[in-house]
Amino acid sequence: MKKFYLLICILFLVPKLSLSQNERISSMGNPTIALRDFDLDLNLYDFGKNVAGLFEDRTFDVLNIRPIIKTTQGDYKRYFDYDKSFTYALSFDGTKVLKDGVFRGYVIYEIENRKNVNRALNRYPYSGIPFFIADTTVGDFIYSGPRVGFQYSFEITKSLYSGFELNYQLVDGLKSVYSRAKSLWRNIDGSLNLAYKFSNDFLIGGKISFLDNKESIEAKSEDLFDAEIFNYRGDNFAFKRRSQQIKQTYREKSLGYSIQSIITSFEKLRIGLKSEYSNSILKTLYPYGMLEEYEEGHSVFENLLISMKAHFSPLDNLLVGFESNYEDYKSWSRISELSLMNWKWELKEFNIGSGISYRFNLIPLILISEISLGKIISDSSKYIDNKFVNHNKPFYLFKTGLEYEILNQIFVRFGIQNGKFGFEPEKGGKDISINKISLGLGIYSFKFIHVDYYIDYGKIRNNLNQVNKNLNSQLNLKLFSY
């Protein structure tokens, strides 16, 4: 078995709302610190992810229609990963300014085709828990399903805003070969938000969010074979279960708290502060008898984020940005029947970043450059496998891009990203280099419709010279009257 290091992934990040990326930002190299953009304002909604801030952030009606294609392939992968993945999605994301508030709703339908998934039956086998299931075959998985959600924000009394959101996602997965596993992935999450504007210079917001996620997997051989699966409790140890129909369920519940504030210290300086804490419990269950579910594993996650971002604009066409983030993820898992811990890990990330963007007066050009420096500290104790891994590695990420108005209201965009990570926690690779190039086009010549398009191509290479390549493309038709 290919050795893999720290098996931390993004499961409990994935279900949270992640609407399609802004094409302008993506095509300029994905800067987030110092670019003036509609989606990067230093306010409660864009920075704080506080839905109560929607009321002030969105002041006009717009409907975004986005067809999206994403592909990834390569040999920088872990043992249970797939060779290639193709994702196709169509998204409708509309904002409507109502009489008493602002409503934003979206519908996305996604189809993901994963090629040559090696044995794993879970959608995310590396989800930070040691409990996952596998069969014996390499096969394709197709996941498809809708994601819907809405946000609503309104003013309760003068300067006091409220907002709430609810998101629902349902994904069906099907493996093409034995054990012909079916997966049903369901996610509900939402939040209640409040914001108070003390003055135009000081806003404060609070948010309570919840998440309920369930993945049910059923291996049922359609021919006469029994389905035989392996319940892993780490990298090395698994026990077999065999029957004509085998089920397994993963159930996660999470609660999170967050506060945000936006402060304008003096006219040219605006500061955003945010802290978030979430706690979730994920249970690994399989049926026992007719009705009961047996808890095989129990995992607890904790996440703490403290973030600061500042915008300083000494000139009208100059923006200097600064950000600093500290994140601490930690988790432990136990085998429930014995109450013995079999995996404990902690991942800390600290970064500071700065950037500058400048809009030229003489030519219609905007230039942006950003750099982030940081450190990733990970500590994994996989007791059941007797595997203990520590990393303490620095990283940097450099982004630069431009936007040029070639014709009246027609923009071309270009961006590059370059980074080096001593340790990359998702796949456990060392000395990771990241290179990405992006191109985009914006046509804003018409009054009621704007068109944005971007395409990017990226490579991620590790110290073993294994490379992953990504190609993403997205079109956006913005309708302003609908």
Binding site: F202, R233, G234, R242, R334, L340
Partner: protein, 373 residues
């Protein structure tokens, strides 16, 4: 303006303190960890078997088969007869020791122990196993093929049971009974000694060889394999992935069935239960098979354990998902059977070698081997 900011900063500070305090309110992790189990085994041989003076000598380079719900792994003892295993996940382990006799190639030194509880947090488990020479035990069930061949029309009629004479002398099959135990599910289960009266209960099918126990008409020679086929025909004509059993030594024939196939060239085992009109077919993934010498033929009140020659239980899933039911005096564990319709069979690792520990004695073969190892 300044007062608003000052007030705001205080609120911000307060809420941040609340958030950071909440960060410490998570569920506490267990204090004990898995994967720290230790097992130390000493394998000794009492040489009084070959010498009048009883001396326990360490058995060097003996094969140690360690099984648990997670794995079956093979280790070897060192020159002191010791094997030390560490970083084991907590589980119930079974250990079987095998070593070729240094002088007699027909003898294998065997020891086994089941239900060794290795818990990660407890102290090292130390145990000593005394090997005993095993050979020539007589007739054993050597192979069970019940899964059915690879097919898509529910074909499994090519089942067979293979017997083997591992002794040095001719044995006789006269009057012997071959039984399937699958009832008694309300009690301790099929093959269990229900009232602790020395017999095993739950017989559903009983077929017997002709003759009476003690008669010597149907020999099985030393080292001979005998195939008992459900239907002694060439099944490959029906299902290409199946087996040709037309040359089987014996055939189960239910004389009370109007439909059972009878190959006239193959002698029959006949049904002892008139109420059962089906052929001798066994479950594809879990069942109990027992052969007895036939002295206790009153199956209704159970089969006396003293008459049992061999018995094997097989199950599809490991403990605790499946319950073991066959009396441990006959079989201390059970074989993990192959998947249904896989064409695979269960066969003893060494022909006829029976340590009453089927989990270690048997292995899964990709293809059945009727009449040979």
């Amino acid at each position: 303006m300044k007062s608003i900011l000052s007030f705001g900063w205080r609120i911000l500070l307060l809420i941040n303190i609340v958030i950071i305090t909440l960060a410490g309110c998570s569920e506490n992790p267990p204090t004990m960890v898995d994967g720290q189990g230790k097992l130390e085994l000493f394998v000794l041989w009492d040489t009084s078997y070959v010498d009048s003076i009883s001396t326990l000598i360490p058995v060097e380079n003996a094969k140690v088969i360690v099984s648990s719900r997670y794995l079956t792994k093979i280790y070897y003892t060192d020159q002191n007869g010791k094997v030390y295993l560490e970083n084991l996940p907590s589980s119930i382990y079974g250990v079987t020791i095998r070593k070729q006799h240094p002088l007699d190639p027909n003898i294998i030194l065997v020891a086994s122990k089941q239900n060794i509880e290795v818990i990660s947090t407890k102290n090292i488990v130390i145990d000593t196993l005394l090997v005993k020479p095993t050979s020539s035990s007589g007739i054993t069930i050597n192979e069970i093929y019940c899964a059915g061949p690879v097919n898509n029309f529910f074909f499994f009629f090519d089942q067979f049971i293979e017997l083997y004479n591992s002794s040095n002398e001719v044995k006789y099959l006269d009057g012997m009974m071959v039984m399937r135990f699958s009832s008694n599910t309300d009690g301790k289960g099929p093959g269990a000694d229900e009232e602790d009266d020395g017999d095993i209960d739950g017989v559903t099918y009983v077929f017997k060889f002709p003759g009476k126990p003690g008669e010597k008409n149907y020999p099985i020679y030393p080292g001979q394999f005998v195939v008992l086929a459900s239907d002694a025909v060439d099944h490959t004509k029906v299902c290409a992935t199946s087996y040709d059993l037309s040359n089987a030594n014996w055939e189960f024939y239910n004389q009370y069935s109007p439909e059972d196939i009878d190959n006239p060239n193959v002698p029959n085992l006949i049904n002892m239960r008139p109420d059962k009109t089906a052929d001798f077919l066994i479950a594809l993934t879990n069942d109990v098979i027992v052969i007895s010498d036939g002295r206790d033929s009153i199956w209704q009140d159970g089969i006396d354990i003293s008459t049992v020659i061999d018995g094997v239980e097989y199950q599809s899933n490991p403990h605790p998902q499946n319950k073991k039911t066959l009396d441990p005096r006959i079989d201390r564990s059970y074989v993990l059977s192959p998947p249904r319709y896989s064409g695979k069979s269960m066969q003893r690792r060494e022909p006829g070698l029976d340590t009453n520990d089927s989990l270690s004695d048997f292995e899964i073969k990709d293809r059945a081997t009727p009449g040979y190892q």
